[in-house]
Symmetry: C2
Subunit: 725 residues, 2 copies
């Protein structure tokens, strides 16, 4: 078969996506005949990044272990990079690290690993424990992750506890280390990494991939280099799958080391560890850590650049690039493992210079695939969490099975609660000050809220002169695929249709399209236009009326307490809103609108008004009331335009609705003048009769809110010519 060339215009049958964690990928060649070789020879130019998930002969997706991925990568001949991090000491440090991991993921590292520090309860549940960081890296940053584990300061019970917890979280890779000598005499059952490796194999068979450390110039505490090699062989024989080496300064050390390993019968992959010199201090740190001697050439350069951190960093990059190139050319290094010290600039730079950084990351699915083996079959999600994937992952982390093929009509999926809004990996980034700057220190009316949405969508500065880069339902700025429709969205938002999720229709774009593409090359992707927004009762009334004229639109309208629940969807019938057709495969349908899930989502969506916005203000304050009022009286609406080959009717529909809303407001406004002699209350109740009359349990809170709403809408009508925009 002709292999894939990323720039080829023709359609090719390929197996691989550029994204490292691609579920819909076959692991092995498809030949069943005796007459075809089983090697990857006939896939020249195949993307170097392999899917996590091969497909076995029996059962559905088959998870590819890190060892298998490593092996496949070695066979392909394309070098990789991996990254090591340490758990930060503070919560905000942890949050920053996760953002960093997110950015680094785009370059396509084969895996990352998280170090273990016995003193800090590394196996515990705090936000900054090794266990938590590793789990977050795997499950939320979606990186294949190795958790370090040392054994000299732990009992077997401790270790079993840690391993069980790791397994529970879906962590499948352990770097088994000795750790520091147990000088404080803590209770401990193991003294050597070999024992830990053996123990893991005895207790867990092949569940864990086990890596071990190698020392190209021998462990500092080893009797001799040769003794250390023997010790390494013991570790490998005890069941290690591959070796990551300590850092070193000269490529020859590593090359010799690999040869020596092969000589004594160590066959597993050996990955060189490299720590870029990032500053004068970091060099000292490296020396302390590794107890290595820094070659004179490096020392001299660093000394000469002593006061110039930038120059040192550039030198460090240069030194690393040069050394790694040599390693690759030698043929004994399948990739490189970076000791990042949690920093990203240098490693990004080095990886790019070496051509390791994936410049054209391609999505396997429209949403980030989680390389947790428990989720390896996951292929479909409800669209509602598109901007909140971590919430979705969190709320579904306990599922035994994940939907694939079709969402179907299995028993209503049980979503876990999202109680702790302060879980660091779910928490909004941004300080209270930052948020108030963006969302308003003082809110007088719902129009102020509409203005925030408008600013967010358009990217224009708000009245504080600040860019609104996020809203409670979306931590990031508008995605690339939304930008083409942002002006249309802005028009709606300004008029009180507060959009929190959307996608344009797509009719058979090539799957390698920069903006809309996903999945393997040579396919075609499709989307139905989708819009989800909060809006007030008045708008909903008119929307309900006008929807009759748009029979191709599926809708679901719901309020906070769920008593107003209005949809024309078939019972228990999810609606495909994204799908793709690929060579050699069945149809993949990664996103649906599902009414059952919508009932769950709406609680989260309504709660975000309060948890992330209202709570910024003082209790009882006007601003808080404005937000609470919206949360209590607005409706969450989703619309699907089923007629995806044509330009979507949703804009027209909603603009008609809003025109009608304004027309009615004008009429009411003039009515209000007329009835000025009538009691204020009866005028209000007249308005109330056409809004929210269904929500009987809101009757108590409805009146004042509706009154505010009414006055505000009239007010804003009067004010509009002098709007803020």
């Amino acid at each position: 078969m002709v292999g894939e060339s990323p720039s080829s215009a023709g359609l090719v049958l390929t197996k691989h996506c550029s994204e490292p964690n691609a579920p819909s990928v076959c692991s092995s060649n498809g030949r069943t005949s005796d007459f075809e070789s089983d090697s990857e020879d006939h896939f020249p130019g195949a993307s170097h990044d392999r899917g996590v998930y091969g497909r076995g002969r029996r059962g559905s997706y088959q998870y590819l272990s890190l060892t298998e991925k490593l092996q496949a990568r070695i066979e392909s001949g394309e070098p990789f990079f991996s990254l090591e991090f340490f758990p930060p000491r503070t919560k905000s440090g942890a949050a920053n690290l996760l953002s960093r991991l997110e950015r680094l993921r785009h370059g396509g590292p084969l895996f990352c690993d998280i170090t273990w520090h016995p003193a800090g309860n590394p196996g515990g549940n705090s936000e900054t424990s090794s266990m938590t960081i590793a789990s977050a890296a795997l499950n939320y940053c979606c990186l294949e992750t190795i958790l370090h584990m040392t054994c000299t300061e732990a009992t077997v019970d401790d270790l079993n506890r840690h391993l069980a917890r790791a397994k529970e979280l879906g962590i499948k890779n352990i770097l088994a280390l000795r750790g520091d000598r147990n000088e404080e005499g803590r209770p401990s059952d193991f003294s050597y990494a070999t024992q830990l490796v053996r123990h893991i194999r005895e207790e867990y068979g092949n569940y864990f991939v086990v890596a071990v450390a190698g020392y190209p110039t021998g462990h500092p505490e080893a009797v001799s280099y040769e003794e250390d090699l023997k010790h390494l062989k013991e570790k490998v024989d005890a069941g290690a799958d591959f070796i990551i080496t300590q850092l070193f300064f000269k490529p020859e050390y590593f090359i010799k080391f690999v040869n020596d390993c092969r000589e004594i019968g160590i066959r597993v992959p050996i990955i060189p560890g490299v720590m870029p010199i990032q500053s004068y201090e970091s060099l000292r740190h490296m020396v302390k850590l590794s107890r290595l001697e820094v070659p004179d050439e490096i020392v001299n350069v660093i000394k000469s650049l002593k006061d110039n951190d930038e120059a040192i960093r550039n030198f460090g990059i240069h030194q690393a690039v040069t050394m790694i190139r040599t390693l690759f050319q030698s043929g004994v290094a399948p990739g490189v493992h970076f000791y990042t010290l949690n920093r990203e600039v240098a490693v990004t730079c080095i990886a790019k210079q070496l051509g390791l950084w994936n410049l054209h990351p391609h999505r396997a699915l429209p949403w980030k695939v989680v390389p947790n083996h428990r989720r390896c079959q996951e292929e479909i999600r409800p669209i509602f969490w598109a901007a909140r994937p971590n919430a979705y992952i969190y709320r579904t982390r306990h599922w035994d099975e994940f939907p694939n093929g079709r969402w179907g009509t299995a028993e209503s999926p049980a979503f876990g609660d999202l109680k702790d809004y302060y879980l660091f990996y779910l928490k909004s980034k941004g300080s209270k000050e930052e948020l108030l700057n963006m969302w308003g220190f003082y809110l007088e009316s719902e129009q102020d809220v509409w203005d925030v949405f408008y600013a967010y969508i358009t990217g224009r500065e708000n009245r504080n002169g600040v860019k609104v880069t996020r809203i409670p339902w979306n931590d990031d700025e508008l995605s690339e695929e939304t930008i083409p429709i942002s002006e249309k969205l802005a028009t709606l938002n300004r008029r009180g249709v507060l959009t929190i999720n959307s996608q344009p229709n797509v009719n058979g774009m090539p799957s390698n399209d920069e903006t809309f593409g996903w999945g393997q090359q040579g396919g075609y992707v499709y989307q139905k236009a989708y819009l989800e927004f909060f809006t007030c009762g008045k708008t909903v009334d008119i929307l309900k009326r006008l929807l009759v004229q748009y029979p191709q639109v599926n809708y679901h309208i719901i309020n906070k307490n769920g008593k107003f629940n209005y949809t024309n969807a078939y019972t228990n019938c999810p609606i495909a809103v994204t799908w793709g057709v690929f060579p050699g495969r069945e149809i993949i349908q990664p996103t649906v609108v599902d009414s059952e899930s919508y009932l769950v989502w709406k609680d989260e969506a309504f709660a975000l008004w309060i948890e992330q916005w209202a709570k910024l203000y003082e209790d009882g304050s006007k601003s808080q009331q404005v937000i609470e009022n919206i949360a209590n009286t607005y409706y969450l609406v989703n619309l699907v335009d089923n007629d995806f080959p044509k330009d979507t009717c949703l804009w027209e529909l909603l603009n008609l609705v809003l025109d009608e809303v304004e027309r009615e407001s004008c009429n009411n406004s003039s009515k209000l003048d007329q009835v000025s002699s009538e009691s204020f209350d009866s005028a209000i109740s007249q308005e109330l009769s056409c809004c929210e009359n269904e929500s009987s349990d809101q009757s108590h809170s409805a009146s004042p809110s509706a009154a505010i709403l009414y006055i505000q809408s009239v007010d804003s009508m009067v004010r509009r010519p002098t709007s803020h925009y």
Copy 2:
């Protein structure tokens, strides 16, 4: 919601397909809100034919029982028709009846029923038993079917045996009758239909839908009309779901009868039975059967037309139409049940005149849906059996579950054997004489066989001046969707690419397209171009070579014994070749190419050469050898062109292959002249070395066959200018 109008250009969200047995249809309205009525009021104009399969809140498809379908139809206000048949006495009669049912199905009857005659072992397994006919009507003719069952000449054990067998076959509806008085004194436990109804409910709960007979003028043996009404009420109270009446000659009788039934508290649906007068004899038969008095007006007309059967039939049609119209207008008849006496012309005519006949049958899926509740989830099939659905149904009849959503990679499906080629519902229609006329009384060479395919595809007469209306792999003439590509297919067939299955690519045609559409209105359907054919080794060699230049093509090439098995499909990865996108639903993907199933199919495909063609000739005859040689040496090839939005490359590919084949033959032909002095054997072995060298276990039989092949191909080369076409 705006309902569906079949001629509306706009896209509408509808729930129904015109085909009575449509799986992908929801049974109930989708509203979950308190504020929407649950009636069908807001679906004006919805197609009168409801799906079999609604979708419940839990689980996947939910089978809609006949009672539910009847109820839904009554609520919709659109009248239906149903048809009663009796089991023929001979096998050929049974085969004819099934063809008839097939034709009648197109008109959209709500159900059919099969009568029960205790004398003839009606519950047995012969081709002509009531049980077998009913099962065939349900499973192969795809009609909702009611099996009659009488009780006066059977013991409880007999009845239990029959009911168990019916259930096993998937029959879910019983018309519980008394039967004739047991005058011969056979052992029997029941004397009244009521007892049978009660027994069925006790033994089977609600598994069976139970219907009973009603007599608008009272049962002939009843003490009085009033007594008979009480008796009917007993039957209904014992658990009957609805009533079908005996025939009657005047609408008033039925109308009065219904009113009387309602008066005494019978609430279930009552369907009028009508027997069109089809001839003088049939009137006498009706009288004998019903013991009714024929009204004078009818008697006089029939007498006057006594010798004119056609006129009588027309009169019978007219009489039926008039009476039924009156019944419908009265509002008490939800439909009409025809006693057909196994004839089709009159009922077809009557149904059409009454507007009951579905003039625009629309497929729910590209293949006939089987209304057997066991198959209600079935939504996907491999494309290979597209022209042999009955074989597929037969070979999968024992499955517990049927694929839906995606074919997936479940354990290899186990297909039952297709040993008995003479099962009447699978047997080729057509006598040996007919087949020999079409396929050749005498075959000299493979070219003769190629000619048969050519004649079949083009519809032109063969050398016997006869139209070839079928081939072993397809009982029917070319389907509508194949006609546009028939000339292209013909060109290939004439040159030895013997196509047995194909479909053109389709890129988003509306689902109501006459030729390619299926599924509910408002959707879009898609297909990948597909071609499946037999061809010789030489062609396969060149095809393999040229396929490299067409990376968008998936192929699977296999020979009879499976040792040559060559595919570029991913392991265990079915390929979608037909799919549809519909409003309010997930993607439906009803047809796949699946390599596992292909291995099963190929045995059937190769066997058909022998079972249906070779066996027409005398053992050892030249003609038989020609066919056997093809079966033994040809390959079965399937090709999928994944690039469905573009014009397919398959024609170009295959024509290039055949050009190359001919070029090589020309070269070899001249070589043969040159080596005339060499031994014949060595020339042959030279040819053999580039064909079939992979099939080592064929080496014994390969030589003579390849020799024949070779000589024939040369021969045909020489002959071509004087070909038969």
